[in-house]
Point group: C2
Chain length 423, copies 2
């Protein structure tokens, strides 16, 4: 690709920045929490139509999907909230790409922590605010504007672009799974989740566990007659921390070199006891286990189960009142692509061309739909996008507009290189 083409893409994005910003704003204003995705999808559909894409809009079939082993979803009804795929056929002879973004956003949480309406789309000091701005409507707009730039400038690509706006990423990936089972495949895939412009060839997977700890009730005044489930739960937490340490010691991948705990095990919740004057007879611990890109979900699961079983054998109380572990809720399969894969190479070069500096390449600390695409569909996936994780699920979520358009430019250059520009 010539520097002239690059320059035209940069110029076009600059000229059309207000339109792109407005697109992001209305997308954020259409708050698309779980079960309420249709309004935002309608905006995406209209944009795809304007871009001349072949549209495929369908509702997920829960009964059908539930037969698949990678369906981890407790949603029963998908009526009225479709998945959207828009395909731009290439002229042929090039490599195809899936551009995947999720339209669902996490709940706003306690509104009192927001300085404003959580779906305001307010712009201030170069930032756009609102739930979903960073995670990941900013990324979706970056993709759509990249496609539009290429289109508008009259560049024709050899490979197909398969743009996907899916539901359910935040709850385990049923939307992307449905797109895979519908047959969508490509030579590579890009998911612009909020990586803070880092390139993530590998993504950590994760799954949720629940551990039930038994104690023995007694009056608080004779607490020595009982067994405190809180004290016993502390042993479980300690044991899990040991397991986390052991698992992380085994990780030598340089992609993790700056990450303090590559695959953390997070204890997110603990509930025990009902009455100040009683010895608590049960504790429930819930957490998230990080899964390395180099292992399967099953391997990680077995390590945790062995750890709990070990505690059941070592501790006298647990040997009589064994801990129980359950795996529940959503899970995200880890994903990986070789760091030398041509898609990573093209993306790195595009980044260098736009930013005049080398990108940071790391492993992601969280799962994305990339795990499903790479594991189930065998599509090489790289995750790269604007927005920063730290604001993603928090109050006052926002995104730097500058980065949205820098990402858009990088994606446009990547499309040109990867799919190949026809003469």
């Amino acid at each position: 690709m010539g520097s002239d083409q690059k320059m035209r893409i940069k110029e076009w994005l600059k000229e059309n920045r207000a339109r792109g910003t407005r697109l992001l704003q209305i997308l954020v204003q259409e708050g698309s929490t779980r079960g309420n995705e249709s309004g935002a999808q309608a905006i995406v559909i209209e944009k795809c139509r304007q871009l001349g894409m072949n549209l495929d809009i369908w509702e997920l079939d829960g009964d059908e999907l539930s037969k698949h082993p990678a369906f981890f979803c407790d949603r029963k009804d998908f009526t009225g909230n479709p998945n959207v795929v828009g395909v731009l056929k290439g002229t042929g002879g090039g490599k195809s790409i899936v551009l995947n973004g999720h339209i669902d956003v996490v709940p706003v949480g306690d509104e009192k922590y927001w300085g404003d309406d959580p779906f305001s789309g307010r712009i201030q000091s170069g930032r756009l605010y609102g739930r979903g701005s960073t995670d990941m409507k900013g990324g979706t707009v970056a993709m759509l504007m990249a496609i539009e730039a290429v289109n508008a400038l009259g560049f024709r690509l050899k490979g197909d672009i398969i743009f996907q706006s899916v539901i359910e990423e935040e709850s385990g990936g049923a939307g992307t799974l449905a797109a895979i089972l519908r047959g969508y495949r490509a030579d590579g895939a890009l998911i612009p989740e909020p990586t803070n412009m880092k390139i993530f060839p590998k993504q950590q997977g994760s799954m949720w566990f629940r551990i039930l700890v038994s104690g023995k009730a007694a009056h608080g005044g004779t607490r020595y007659e009982g067994v405190s489930a809180i004290e016993k739960a502390a042993l479980v937490v300690e044991k899990i921390q040991e397991l986390e340490k052991l698992r992380n010691q085994k990780i030598s991948d340089p992609l993790y070199k700056t990450i303090p705990i590559p695959i953390p095990i997070n204890i997110g919740k603990m509930v025990s006891g009902q009455w100040p004057s009683s010895v608590p007879d049960q504790a429930v611990i819930e957490g998230r286990m990080g899964v390395s890109p180099e292992e399967t979900m099953e391997q990680a699961q077995k390590e945790m189960e062995a750890c709990i079983e070990n505690l059941n054998q070592l501790d006298e109380w647990f040997s009589l009142h064994p801990l129980k572990i359950e795996w529940f809720g959503a899970r995200w399969i880890p994903g990986r692509i070789d760091e030398e894969h041509p898609l990573v190479k093209v993306l790195k070069e595009s980044f260098q061309a736009v930013k005049n500096t080398a990108p940071v390449v790391e492993a992601s600390p969280w799962g994305t739909d990339g795990g499903l695409l790479s594991t189930i569909a065998n599509v090489p996936v790289v995750v790269f996008g604007p927005g920063i994780t730290v604001t993603a699920h928090d109050a006052n979520e926002h995104i730097e507009l500058e980065e949205v358009f820098a990402a858009s430019e990088i994606i446009a250059l990547t499309l040109m290189e990867w799919c190949g520009a026809a003469d």
Copy 2:
């Protein structure tokens, strides 16, 4: 008192055991949880009337009571659920006694753990089942049958008997406080709480605390960016356990010699976190602090506050995000009487006469209304009764009928000796 009198009391109680059992049964069947005390009080009132007592039946005045520093009660409305006091005037020249029992019972808890209706009053293998049987309607019936035995046998006492059936013991003692403020005093008081026939000249007090622990939220995949409130709460639990140890090391009273932890601090509840994939940013710990009969509530409170303040100073995180402690809910003032007090002596001798063995004398592991009577009204109190603590607040609460009537006999002998039989 002659052995003939003792024998007649024993005989009378044997002959009237079926009636006493029936009284306990209907009292248990009138489940008198908080706010529903009137049905059981009606049975008590009728019994007092039959015994020829001067009845004083009144509803607590929450507004008036709330001015008293020992009123620890969140109940707003006492309408329709009265306190009951029945007085039998003595012939004069003897010592008076308060016989105090509470009519309120704790909630039944989860009914699935009960083998039967929680208010069945079922009798099986010499035990009577139901919420309140042990705590403490068995004790109330033991008192009433003791009074009836003395009456029926024509013994006239010199001192007054002030029988009290109070509400609210389980929630901080507002019923007994009201009886004190109404002017009832005596030379001694007996409370037949379920001591398993042990004599408790001292009673542990207690109060509830709540500690708020701050953490810092973060995504579980980058948990090193957050501060886990669960991990910080573990430090608080550890520190409280140290305080418990220090406080108990100071206790040398021989009454505590067989008790593993004389004044425990029980952590009864811990709630932290909302989401498996997030680092929890708050934890709430609730517990019960035991108060020694040799200290005041304020002294105990200050020790706990100093312990928390100390942790706030030592721990870097807490120095910036200090722990907060609140005192809430009910409290029970500790109580004590000298082990050589004549009332204890009379009770011990009565026990010996009935049981042909010396009683166990200990300090109680929980508070009773005795703390209010001894501290606020300056009435020497001893706690002694049938029933065992371990079933008191649990499912399938029950009492050994044999012990109810043994206690009744011991109380009858105590009345004869303490109040003095007129010629």
